[in-house]
Symmetry: C2
Subunit: 248 residues, 2 copies
């Protein structure tokens, strides 16, 4: 029975799992206190669309836990994912009143929301928020440009390998301790969502997943549980520059 769950969790910001990565990362104690006053939590169920493109948006938010997607849809139904939101990622645009994309929860999701008006006022009075938001936006822009290379120039196999590498890398960065050896994770996306991410059809995604499995690049246990025996091999298949793309 999917319906909007308004369950009001309430953390102290000090204990917050995304305290040091989210838009509030640079805030001092007093700044955090002001943010506390305008924040509230919302939870959504997997599959739920929280925001439709064109909707009025009266809040901005950080993903606390779970995964959400940004997608664009053409009139005839063609869909392209344009953002994959993980814990600590920011949703919404200060200074804009309507949503530009559909936002959908792909897993159960907890968001830390800020009423937009007061948030915008805080941005003026609290430079640390704007500074952090700029940094995050620049990171997203870099990610978007990497994604553009993928969409425009990579083969289906390279696209799949790239996506798996992105998820593996991110998954590793969320763990406390970097696991050595084989990487193991659960795909947070269906084949169709992967296709929407990659600009492919779900059939092509399925075929290429099978091919990568057949060739030993990945191991599959069920449809979602993935093991990467050799990350370098995967990165080679992804067509990325051999180095990890380390910047600065």
């Amino acid at each position: 029975m999917p319906m909007q769950d308004m369950h009001l969790v309430h953390h102290e910001c000090g204990d917050c799992p995304i305290r040091h990565r989210a838009v509030c990362a640079r805030c001092e104690a007093d700044e955090l206190q002001r943010l506390e006053q305008i924040k509230y939590y919302r939870t959504y169920q997997a599959g739920q669309t929280l925001i439709w493109s064109g909707d009025r948006m009266d809040f901005v938010a950080s993903v606390v836990s779970g995964i959400a997607t940004l997608t664009q849809t053409m009139e005839d139904g063609r869909r392209q994912m344009v953002g994959l939101l993980l814990p600590s990622d920011f949703v919404g645009r200060p200074g804009r009143s309507t949503a530009a994309y559909d936002v959908t929860a792909t897993t159960d999701l907890v968001m830390c929301c800020f009423r937009k008006k007061p948030f915008e006022e805080l941005m003026v009075s609290t430079p640390h928020i704007g500074q952090r938001l700029l940094e995050m936006t620049l990171d997203e822009l870099d990610a978007a440009r990497e994604w553009m290379l993928l969409l425009g120039r990579k083969t289906a196999r390279e696209k799949i390998a790239s996506l798996l590498a992105i998820i593996a890398r991110r998954d590793a960065s969320l763990r406390v301790k970097a696991a050595k050896g084989a990487l193991v994770f659960d795909l947070p996306l269906t084949r169709e969502e992967m296709a929407d991410y990659l600009g492919l059809t779900l059939e092509t995604v399925s075929r290429q997943m099978s091919a990568l499995k057949r060739d030993g690049v990945i191991l599959l246990d069920g449809k979602r549980h993935v093991t990467i025996p050799d990350l370098d091999r995967l990165l080679e298949e992804a067509g990325d520059d051999s180095d990890g793309g380390v910047l600065d």
Copy 2:
């Protein structure tokens, strides 16, 4: 004889053609004065690559006049354009020491450069710069996401029509007075550059240009001079939502 031209133009910021759109747009007189002290102009010739991916970057800059591109290249030579920089657009990333993309002048180009270190210091002391940069970066992110839809889901014909619409729109916005009726402009890109923008081959670009011409969607005078007799028709061909995509 293409070589770096260090010709030192020197404008007053007050007269600058991009004064009200660039990263300095929100600056007050005193803030502008501090910017003046760390700025210098550089000019480049059409075709010249100003920055190679991985290069050390000791400055950031605004495009004053001309057009530049950001591109990514894979080891085997596949190229994808990931940014098209017009007058007032910003180049470089505060807080990062090396360039992430190749930057190439597609026309003769004038840049207003700021030494990076002092610019970063100014960003801390002068919130108006950071605020404006955030706004510009959010705009670029939106443009990148629109571009992702194009790369992932549009047909070759739609891609070409979309690019022509983008250039036409932008060209119109740079003119003082909006021309009614037919839009006319010169393509600032070669067929190959268009292909790199759109994730196509140059042959496909050429064929689709011919097709749009044959179908009366565009008129061509020479290879570069384009007339759009009916913008709505072009937008229809581009597969975009009928409304102009007006956001806030």
